[in-house]
């Protein structure tokens, strides 16, 4: 196998199909959130925009879990040349692309589009990281979504309220990246799931 760094487009198409409705649903949610915010009275807009951003972040983690829950033939995938974490990373890249689109759509109308996208993307990284990490360990959609929702509420009710955004967002994003890296990185051991009998 030579240095084949590019994923064949045909393969990417399959991986996108394996994500099901998660990516389109996320995009639709972003567009709807953006439209509702833009259409509401100016006084309510900041609160709505903040709620929409955190809401989108939570939805993103549930979309990640939906994609993970759709994996089939785990044992077969573990025996194929493409490492299983790489396979998951490709599928999650599809969700990530949809999420970025949704986050941009959320702030499209407002003058602080970049800030509002960051308000969604940073917690989304954290929550997706939590979901992915729990999934990698347990392979249970219930456990992963329970954890993601708890962190989601914790972020919205405490972290985002008491910590200034300039700190809260980068910290969340950094923690999320670490969690994603441990779940998909070279030290991940997806075989453990077969070991534990799922």
């Amino acid at each position: 196998m030579s240095a084949r760094t590019l994923v064949p487009p045909a393969l990417l198409r399959y991986e996108a199909r394996h994500c099901g409705m998660a990516a389109p649903a996320l995009l639709a949610a972003g567009l709807a959130g953006g439209a509702v915010t833009a259409g509401s009275p100016p006084a309510a807009q900041p609160a709505l925009a903040a709620a929409a951003a955190t809401g989108l972040a939570g939805l993103a983690s549930l979309a990640v879990i939906a994609v993970l829950a759709r994996t089939r033939a785990l044992e077969l995938h573990l025996s194929l040349p493409v490492p299983f974490p790489v396979l998951l990373a490709r599928r999650l890249a599809v969700v990530a692309a949809a999420l970025v689109g949704a986050a941009l759509a959320l702030g499209a109308g407002s003058p602080e589009a970049a800030a509002s996208a960051a308000a969604a993307l940073c917690p989304a990284a954290l929550l997706s990281g939590v979901a992915l990490r729990v999934w990698a360990r347990r392979h249970s959609p219930a456990a992963a979504s329970g954890a993601a929702v708890a962190v989601w509420l914790g972020y919205a009710l405490f972290w985002a309220v008491h910590v200034p955004p300039a700190v809260a967002r980068p910290a969340a994003a950094a923690l999320g990246v670490v969690l994603i890296a441990t779940a998909l990185g070279p030290r991940a051991v997806p075989e453990r799931v077969v070991e534990e009998g799922r």
Binding site: A10, A73, E75, L76, S79, P81
Partner: protein, 288 residues
């Protein structure tokens, strides 16, 4: 592709499922037999790199499976059919095989299309190739699994109960499909259908409770029951002190096929089959 297994042990928690297994598989077909829970699937999962050994070594084509590079090498030459394979229900058979071929690194679209069409034909699914897998019957799913294992010209084929759920015709077709591979690559096949092994595998290994209890020529396993297999016609009770391999009602009473060290009264010696040999071996392991 030679496979060498030495001192292979696998434990789940405190339970030892494979206990110091030594085995070698060479080119050609080897059958893997053993009672339920003997450790066949566990051994195949270890070979396929789906599980990691607790101790001992697995070497495939000179590459040690304990190393990352060794596992990567094995995955590139491997065709694996797990015992339980849940297929993607939203893909058609053709799409699923195309997808797996892509993951196996068959990048050229034309090669892929030809390979997939050839294998679909070989497993008798050419007519249902474009139907969704979600609507497939159990045997059809199994055939998709078999086709998938043979994609990408594998040199080591590990198939775990490939014929479970196949109808008689498909089972015969499967045998000829494997026979076509036999000379070029190493095939390890587990099954509970001794006929599959008798017909296709020149060599066989038998596991029981995590240990290898027989390895060698298939004819050698049959020979276990040579001069110990009898037919007994009786209207009385089942013969005792013998392993009954078959029983049939006859107008006069019952006809039992038994494997026994001493011929029961009225027994007629007959030629042993692989089934008799297996029964004799199991009887020697757990004398009842």
């Amino acid at each position: 592709m030679d496979v060498a297994i030495t001192g292979l042990t696998k434990t789940f928690g405190r339970r030892t499922v494979l206990d110091a297994v030594d085995l070698e598989f060479g080119a050609g077909m080897t059958g893997l037999l053993g009672p339920n829970g003997a450790g066949k699937t566990t051994l195949m999962r270890l070979l396929a790199g789906v599980l990691r050994p607790s101790s001992g070594a697995l070497v495939v084509g000179g590459h040690d499976l304990r190393t990352r590079a060794g596992r990567a090498f094995t995955r590139r030459v491997l065709g694996y059919l797990p015992q339980h394979l849940d297929l993607y229900p939203d893909l058609s058979a053709r799409e699923f095989l195309d997808y797996i071929a892509l993951l196996k690194g068959v990048d050229d679209a034309r090669t892929r299309r030809a390979d997939v069409a050839r294998l679909l034909d070989r497993v008798g699914l050419a007519d249902s190739a474009d139907l969704r897998l979600g609507g497939f019957s159990g045997g059809m799913r199994r055939r998709v699994g078999i086709a998938q294992a043979l994609l990408g010209d594998p040199r080591l084929v590990i198939v775990d109960e490939p014929t479970a759920g196949l109808d008689p015709e498909e089972r015969m077709r499967f045998r000829s499909l494997l026979a076509g591979l036999g000379e070029r690559c190493t095939v390890v096949l587990s099954t509970h259908v001794l006929d599959d092994v008798a017909q296709t595998c020149p060599r066989v290994a038998v596991l029981a409770a995590g240990r290898v209890v027989y390895t060698g020529a298939t004819s050698g396993l049959t020979a276990y029951a040579q001069d110990r297999t009898y037919l007994v016609d009786t209207d009385g009770p089942q013969p005792t002190g013998a392993a009954v391999t078959n029983a049939a009602a006859t107008p006069e009473g019952m006809r039992y096929r038994v494997v026994a060290d001493e011929p029961p009264p009225g027994a007629v010696p007959v030629a042993a089959t692989l089934e008799d040999g297996y029964a004799a071996l199991m009887r020697d392991i757990h004398p009842t």
